[in-house]
Subunit: 351 residues, 2 copies
């Protein structure tokens, strides 16, 4: 039987501007808590075995991983994200566990954003020969932690040596039932825009980390630091939203205005944010005061919160709050705040 | 409905020794035929659009790609492989198209080696800012070419900037029917070992390229050069082998002895190669004479041919030839040639 794939491509066109780019010294320096033998010392086989011990499995090491027979009337959903040390994360302030957790959350958010449930992850890991083995073990421990939380599993991967530490994750999810996925082109005038999770916290956390360094961030900002170094994704939020009437969804990865602009353009609608619903809370304002930065810039351009953003005709689904409305489009402006052009519109740019 | 994933992990334990490792100068130099604006010049959005034009699709740019509803009684098979410039390929002799084709073949071989059919690929691409856009276009053209040949498709990806050019592919396949996948642990005493494709050609090609450079390789060695720079995988060979009684399968990626040793150990059998069936042909012998290298070393340790190696109780499936027998194991020796210990046993080591 020949299955014909529906022609789908998910390279994400974005409208990013140069923003977040860490600068790291070369060669990559691992903090002193990562000690002991390096991957070059122990060799690939030992690294592989260590990974299998950290993410145990009864069936391992084959050419490919065979997933379980899917329930009838389900479709597979796939997405991939590459995290480069010095650009998407920094060992200057993130622990190995946090990098592992973030890599999984970031990818699973893309699966949830389709209204699907993550079931598996694959890891492509490139690293320098001097990478301590216990760094790899802690990285995998963080991934294992998050995959477990999603009733999911690390089902395979590949290791390679390179000067740069790069964590590539492919997430695989299951979309149940025959109703459409929550694609970017299904926002409709009259719907409400709902969100599940913080907006702007990750960017504020990064700004604090860059200014103070991890050890010196003033007390009380832990929620912002955590939002950046180990963002949270509550399992099933995307599935619940789809089950209760959401039609379009994405996650706040590149910046609120950027991500909503993509949705609005794709759906040919205008999305109007309610300023009262996204106004910086006391914690963001306090961080802004500390750094002399307008916290609205974090809310509107920060991204990386991986907060789910959906449009729905129904009430806000469980765990979501209303932050705006979808309107017919009248002009070039696709995203507005209280009907006006946003003050900040930038976002992430890879090159 | 909650689907429980069968616990599978496919990090591939190998017994590799340091062997093939290209050395490249930094920063990465692109041959002069890759000209025009760089990815840093045009920005991520333009690169993304260029990729979508090279691998066209009617539905693009969402958070994740939704695959077609699978046929009843099928399972999804997934695998990932990372190709690092300077280690797994070199722009000194491979064109962008060849790198793209090789990346797909190498990953699809892992899917075929389970007896499954590749249906989709995801690309994680990291590259320096000075990468010419037309290099990316040619890379994608090579991938498109190969995915099309397999009735498959490039369904998504992610781009990031890094000093190293790294091509990460995740391949997704469909395993039809309820019979088991062709795992490494299902070789049985009494079976024949069969192979589809050349053995040792890729390693011989690499040796010629390193010695002469692409432009100066003596005439007549094109099949060896092609085997290295753009290996071939005939679509459906793995599916055919599974349908006609093969039980275990892998591909010759790390070296014949290494890959068969993994299978033999996992199945607790001895695999005895028939020297007459794998003896270097006239082309390999000629290359060996040119370089003063024993061509048997290419056959036994070369790898990267991505030739499918299967065990079956039936006759050799269409497109396969018999190259050995599976026996009960009596001692530590798991792979023998005419009953004797192989002369060469090394293989690929990542670190």
């Amino acid at each position: 039987m020949v299955l014909v794939l529906s022609p789908v491509i998910s390279f994400k066109p974005t409208h990013r501007t140069k923003g977040r780019c860490y600068v790291t010294a070369k060669p990559l320096h691992f903090p002193s808590r990562y000690t002991g033998p390096t991957v070059a010392d122990v060799g690939e086989r030992a690294v592989t075995l260590a990974i299998q011990r950290m993410a145990p499995s009864s069936r391992n090491g084959d050419d490919a991983a065979v997933l379980a027979t899917p329930a009838p009337n389900t479709r597979t959903v796939v997405s991939t994200d590459v995290l480069v040390e010095g650009r998407h994360f920094s060992l200057d302030w993130s622990s190995a566990e946090e990098v592992g957790r973030k890599a999984i959350v970031q990818n699973f958010a893309d699966i949830e954003a389709m209204g699907a449930r993550p079931i598996a992850a694959l890891l492509g890991l490139t690293m320098p020969g001097h990478t301590p083995l216990n760094f790899v073990q802690r990285l995998i421990a963080g991934m294992w932690d998050k995959t477990l939380q999603h009733n999911s599993e690390l089902v395979g991967g590949d290791l390679a040596r390179a000067d740069t530490l790069i964590v590539s994750i492919t997430a695989i999810g299951i979309l149940g039932g025959s109703s459409p996925a929550l694609t970017l082109d299904r926002a409709r005038a009259g719907q409400r825009l709902v969100a599940s999770g913080p907006i702007g916290y990750s960017a504020a956390g990064l700004a604090l980390l860059r200014h103070y360094g991890r050890a010196s961030v003033p007390a009380g900002f832990a929620p912002l630091i955590d939002a950046h170094c180990a963002p949270t994704l509550i399992p099933g939020r995307g599935v619940i939203a789809r089950a209760t009437g959401a039609t379009a969804m994405t996650d706040n990865s590149d910046g609120l205005i950027v991500d909503l602009t993509t949705m609005a353009r794709r759906s040919n609608v205008r999305i109007d944010l309610d300023s009262a619903a996204i106004t910086p809370d006391s914690l963001l304002r306090k961080a802004g005061d500390h750094l002399g930065i307008d916290p609205w810039s974090w809310v509107l351009t920060g991204g990386e919160d991986h907060t789910l953003l959906a449009t729905t005709t129904s009430d806000a689904p469980s765990g979501f709050r209303t932050i705006g409305r979808v309107h017919r489009t009248h002009a070039a402006a696709h995203v507005t705040i209280d009907g006006c052009h946003p003050t900040y519109t930038a976002g992430w740019e890879s090159f």
